[in-house]
Chain length 328, copies 2
């Protein structure tokens, strides 16, 4: 691995990955349209000679071709990651996740790049019956448009692996936490409590079990899997998470304790926070551990680390309020 | 079931389904763009008061909405079914199968139709490790763009079932044979032998095991599953096939015997006829049998029936030659 393209490279996970690649002395080409990615997340990299920014849409195949030329890897992280509101705009996941992945693959084919790592999701398991859920769990039924769109992306990558000799590393993430995290439970709770410290609404019954992974551990796992498979044709799915889970109400407790608050908690009720929410996510990570990778911290530590980052970066909440408005 | 829309209703399976629906006294609305569907396959239905033809592209959502209005079921059979040449045009399956399925679902949502039956494929199992392969086989890796595009369609339907209360009956077909069959092994061999009776080229080593189902049995199975699930929200996958398989060389023997020929057989070699071809397809059909359905004939009988239909309809080969040219 010498020169790596990262789509969504100014986003949460992408910007951490880009920074790591540069810190390892390799070149990185970030492709981002700054729709959800942020300039501030890559601002310190702009003057680094190992860093290149290509600003534009991943649906633009010509742009992708110029970005991917000379890259030995493409880490395709760009996505619509708004799992919860998929039903409000049912074709958005198709366009930004499935069709975008097709464009990425076609651009790679055009310039002769054949190694791709794809940010998929534990949501592709729908509501699994096997826990912890292994990569070869029983053929799942999709419960969200987000999961369906990522499954479609996985399928495309596997077909390119088989048909064109691509190497496809498919990473099925649990929820990720850490620096640059601006989207999800922990973010929503912290923001809500900043606005209204005495009261917090929790979607569902608060008993949903979630699994989280610290973003730096996630970056290490991706690089480990990519190094392992580089140049070997085939599709290689990996669950990326920890063995742990945390109940939503317990995440809330960590957050309120950190903030020194004792709010009244209101549960909206029901097993699922929203349609397509999974009441339990716990992935089997035996396969990625088999490559020598291990998570460096517990979920609670990852939540704490994230809260510390929020404390130090209060402006992310204002920026996100603008972004949310723009997206609706 | 009273009024049914059939996309691809002038195609091989669709035209047989449309005819059956009419013969059962129900109304059918056929949507077809006649790219691969044929006017001759529905010509005798045109004056039937139960039959309506809507000519146009399934990517045209407005057209779909007008076709689906008042229908209690949509049988979405339209597809690019050219599994073998997927790699020549890698975005065709995405457009004609995945994106088209999204358009169908959105059009249904717009007019309040919520029952969909989808023609998926045993190819979604890739190269399975479990035989016969059940619907909940281990999470597969896709080996063809066709399979990947159908898997994506399945995922969309499941997500609509979970998110919008749709009923989604997902039929994973083996290869289908019978009246109006114009595409696949048996067709190719018959045509090749008509042109050159003394010599036949067989892709692969001829030992690939294939499973076939007679089209009238396929139609009965689809209607059985649809009747069973009508109005029950959820996604319900069914394998449609027989317990049998037939080795490619044995299909060739049935064909040559029927035609009274003793050609020299040339095998191109290798376990797979083409990239993404599956050396063995045998689906577990316990689930569809559990609804009371059973196939009415053996694979050999289905091949014979198909050959008799070829003998009686020599013009299909001329028409297909034109269609093939148009498609390249």
């Amino acid at each position: 691995m010498k020169r790596v393209a990262v789509t969504g490279g100014a986003g949460f996970i992408g910007s951490n990955l880009a920074r790591r690649i540069v810190s390892l002395g390799m070149e990185v080409v970030v492709v981002d349209d700054f729709r959800t990615g942020r300039r501030s997340f890559v601002a310190d990299l702009l003057n680094n000679s190992l860093f290149e920014l290509v600003e534009g849409d991943v649906l633009d195949e010509g742009l992708l071709e110029s970005a991917f030329a000379g890259c030995d890897w493409v880490f395709h992280l760009q996505a619509n990651a708004d799992v919860r509101h998929g039903l409000d705009n049912p074709t958005r996941d198709l366009e930004q996740n499935t069709i975008a992945t097709s464009r990425v693959l076609e651009a790679m084919r055009a310039v002769g790049a054949t190694n791709i790592l794809f940010s998929s999701t534990g949501s592709v398991y729908g509501e699994p019956e096997v826990f912890p859920t292994p990569e070869d769990a029983p053929f799942p039924l999709q419960t969200s448009l987000y999961g369906a769109s990522k499954l479609a992306g996985e399928g495309l990558i596997s077909a390119y692996a088989n048909g064109f000799g691509f190497t496809g590393v498919i990473c099925r993430f649990v929820s990720i936490l850490g620096e640059h995290y601006t989207h999800g439970h922990v973010f929503d709770f912290y923001r809500a409590l900043k606005n209204e410290p005495s009261r917090l609404t929790v979607l569902g019954d608060g008993k949903q079990e979630k699994s989280y992974l610290y973003v730096q551990d996630c970056v290490s796992a991706m690089l480990t899997a990519a190094d392992h498979h580089e140049g070997s044709p085939g599709a290689f799915p990996y669950n990326l998470g920890t063995e742990e889970t945390i109940v939503v109400d317990d995440s809330v407790a960590v957050i309120t304790k950190h903030m020194g608050l004792v709010p009244e908690i209101h549960h909206t009720g029901g097993q699922r926070g929203w349609t397509g929410d999974s009441p339990l996510i716990r992935l089997d990570i035996t396969r990625i551990r088999g490559l020598g990778w291990a998570p460096s911290m517990t979920i609670e530590q990852a939540v704490e680390r994230t809260l510390e980052w929020f404390d130090a970066n209060p402006d992310v909440f204002e920026q996100q309020a603008h972004a949310d408005e723009g997206a609706r």
